[in-house]
């Protein structure tokens, strides 16, 4: 088929130019008009952490190491801050953390494809069998908030664990269900709860945040305990699944009449701020998740096992106190006690690599704790720091103990 070559190129060029002009004009319009409706606001959703050098103080040892961590998206904002801060002081140690979810982090630990894993769920019996001699090091305390998006309604909806279990099981479907209305103390709130369906948002990936939240629902609702139970990837009877804490936060923020659970740091740092539920604690008070109420849960700690023992039953849910938020959890770092098992990783290849990992972990539980508060987490109480220090000091490479500073 013969065609006029000149005609084609002019037309193609003309169409291409028109397309570019349209795209640029649309982009300019969107950028200039700004978003007023709760449509396209999102929370940042980077998956890997980037290391930007903020300040270089004293250069330390010259051997460069590259460490890999993976796991919880719950701790990701804090982990990213730690890595950046640590890199500014130890520019030879590059740490890469992938926020793939606690379940994936634990799988990576078992497969020896990471130097350390982060998770909000402690190692269960099955995981302990697959990751023998793994140490549990709590590195921060955080809480799981329940966020919702109701137009014209602010923060402070009161809910109990039992009602939350019903909502997430799909048994309570409307915002103005009597079970919800009767819990409210604010008269305007009581009157303005809309006759709309509750759109439940949960995690689509395997998550320690889900583990903590379903743990709370299991403790507060016998029906939930029987039907669904506590799991990193529970069989949600209803709702939409989103990837990562940031996915759930973004979904709730962008859509009306949604309710989902997100870690406190994500709730506090998203713009605009998410509206949060005041959950009833064992003392009967409705408590909003804040740093103060999360710290209160850490003051009356259960007795903690040693770093190399079984942490499967440890949790900070429903702690006593009038001003305690009930859905609080440790977030853990798991690492092998004898690092030479990480044959493909930096920490398993040489003593220097192992030392780099140990020193990073030491820094996290000591100096790093100062970063926790600014990002919405709770710093570890001193007795937990002491326990962690003992655990980290027990890490060996080829049987040799490693320097921590």
């Amino acid at each position: 088929m013969k065609f006029d070559r000149n005609a084609v190129s002019t037309t193609t060029a003309g169409l291409a130019v028109a397309l570019v002009v349209v795209i640029v004009a649309a982009g300019a319009y969107i950028a200039l008009s700004g978003s007023t409706t709760a449509k396209v606001t999102t929370t940042t959703n980077t998956v890997t952490s980037t290391n930007t050098v903020t300040s270089v103080s004293t250069p330390t040892q010259l051997q460069s190491s590259s460490l890999d961590g993976a796991g919880s998206s719950f701790v990701y904002p804090l982990m990213a801050a730690w890595i950046t801060q640590y890199f500014s002081v130890h520019t030879n140690v590059q740490i890469n953390y992938q926020s793939v979810g606690s379940g994936a982090g634990i799988s990576d630990l078992e497969a020896h494809t990471v130097d350390y894993a982060a998770s909000d769920a402690p190692l269960q019996t099955a995981d302990q069998a697959k990751a023998p001699h793994a140490l549990t090091i709590p590195d921060a305390i955080g809480s799981v908030t329940v966020a919702y998006n109701l137009p014209h309604i602010g923060t402070g909806l009161n809910l109990t664990g039992a009602v939350l279990a019903q909502i997430f099981a799909g048994n309570i479907t409307k915002w103005n269900d009597p079970a919800i209305v009767n819990l409210q103390t604010n008269a305007t709130l009581k009157a303005t709860l809309p006759n709309q369906q509750i759109i439940v948002v949960h995690r689509s990936d395997s998550s320690g945040t889900s583990f903590t939240f379903t743990g709370f629902l299991t403790q507060d609702s016998a029906a939930w305990a029987k039907e669904i139970g506590q799991a990193k990837a529970p069989a949600w009877p209803t709702g939409y699944g989103s990837n990562g804490n940031s996915g759930v936060a973004g979904f709730v923020q962008g859509t009306h009449y949604t309710m989902g659970y997100v870690e406190l740091a994500y709730a506090l740092t998203s713009t605009p701020k998410l509206t949060l539920v005041a959950v009833q604690n064992p003392a009967g008070m409705y408590v909003l998740p804040t740093q103060a109420t999360s710290t209160a849960a850490a003051t009356a700690l259960p007795t903690l096992p040693a770093g190399n023992a079984n942490w499967a039953s440890i949790n900070l849910l429903n702690q006593p106190g009038a001003n305690t938020y009930p859905i609080v959890t440790f977030t853990y770092i798991f690492v092998y006690q004898e690092l030479n098992v990480n044959t493909a990783q930096t920490s398993g290849k040489s003593a220097a690599g192992a030392t780099a990992l140990v020193q990073f972990l030491w820094w996290v539980v000591t100096t790093g704790q100062q970063q926790s508060t600014t990002l919405g987490y709770v710093p570890l109480p001193q007795n937990v720091v002491t326990l962690d220090e003992q655990t980290i000091q027990s890490i060996t490479y080829n049987g040799q103990s490693l320097p921590t500073t």
């Binding site: 065609f3 006029d4 037309t11 099955a126 799991a231 939409y240």
Partner: protein, 315 residues
């Protein structure tokens, strides 16, 4: 000299045969790995894996039924075909029969540009832009007027089976339309001239003569599009709502669902080799592969047996 040339030919034949065989070997290896890894879950749950709807990986409550995801894949692909194939055929007919010659190449290039967009961009655009359009202008009236029909009941969110089907239909348009366009262009002009000579109108010529002549080729184009729709992962998982278990059954267009590929995407990160969950995920992958193969085999069977292949038509 004659001997060395003979050896060179032989070597070349061997290399070419090895390359062709390597494709077969890769396919067989993939199939074998999937089959071997799915055996544990199939042994334990048997037919329930294909007919059951519950999916729970919690220790002590383990049960894996993949029916909702299989149906989800079929339903989203069907929606993609229902929406995408008429549009693609329209584009193909327009470009090959009716458009002025000057704009034929630029427009076809632009349509093929749609294929160059990475599928994750489709997912992003679908989640952040398209779903609001879908929710406000299509799902809201659908739910308001036809919401009493079970297949249209559900919240108007734009994140559901219908949204996934729509995104998939956009993704298959370039494939189906470009192959259809070539197929229609390959119809010899004598067919058209003969039709015009007996007084057929333009539409009649196109519909009764050109399209039926190119039937097998068009069917092949549709199957290509279906193949892409069945395998599409990231774009679907961003807009389909990621439901799990019995509620993932695609009973309604406006409810969240799950396809086989989006399930694998959501779950494979946490899958530890040796667990039943790992085996179940690979079982779903095995079934997805079998489905894709059967679609292709079925297409070939239909093309050669049911539709008579006419001389000159592109298969």
């Amino acid at each position: 000299m004659r001997l060395s040339r003979f050896r060179g030919d032989d070597a070349f034949k061997l290399v070419a045969a090895a390359l062709a065989a390597s494709v077969l070997v890769i396919l067989l290896l993939m199939g074998y790995t999937l089959l071997r890894s799915s055996v544990p879950v199939l042994e334990r749950f048997g037919l329930y894996f294909f007919t059951g709807t519950k999916w729970n990986s919690a220790a002590g409550h383990e049960i894996y039924g993949a029916l909702p995801y299989m149906l989800g894949t079929l339903v989203t692909s069907a929606i993609a075909l229902i929406i995408g194939v008429p549009i693609s055929l329209g584009i193909a007919i327009f470009l090959s029969e009716m458009s002025p010659r000057r704009i034929r190449i630029p427009i076809s290039n632009l349509v093929e540009l749609l294929a160059a967009v990475p599928s994750v961009i489709y997912g992003l655009w679908g989640f952040f832009v398209f779903r609001f359009f879908l929710a406000d202008y299509i799902e809201a009236p659908l739910s308001a007027y036809l919401g009493w029909i079970p297949v249209f009941s559900g919240p108007v969110l734009g994140v559901d089976v219908l949204a996934a089907g729509c995104i998939l239909s956009i993704m298959i348009i370039p494939t189906v339309s470009s192959v259809s366009r070539e197929v229609i262009s390959a119809v010899p002009n004598s067919v058209r001239e003969g039709a015009y000579s007996i007084g057929a109108t333009r539409w009649e010529v196109t519909r009764n003569w050109v399209l039926s002549y190119a039937r097998s080729g068009l069917f092949g184009a549709v199957i290509l599009g279906l193949g892409r729709a069945v395998g599409e992962t990231i774009a679907v998982s961003m807009v389909i709502g990621n439901a799990v278990g019995p509620q993932a059954l695609p009973t309604s267009l406006l409810k969240p669902g799950q396809t086989m590929s989006s399930l694998i995407l959501n779950l494979f990160f946490e899958a530890t080799p040796g667990t039943y969950e790992f085996s179940a995920i690979l079982g779903v992958g095995l079934f997805l592969m079998i489905l894709a193969f059967s679609i292709n085999i079925l297409a070939r069977l239909m093309v050669t047996r049911v539709l008579k292949v006419k001389g000159g038509a592109v298969e």
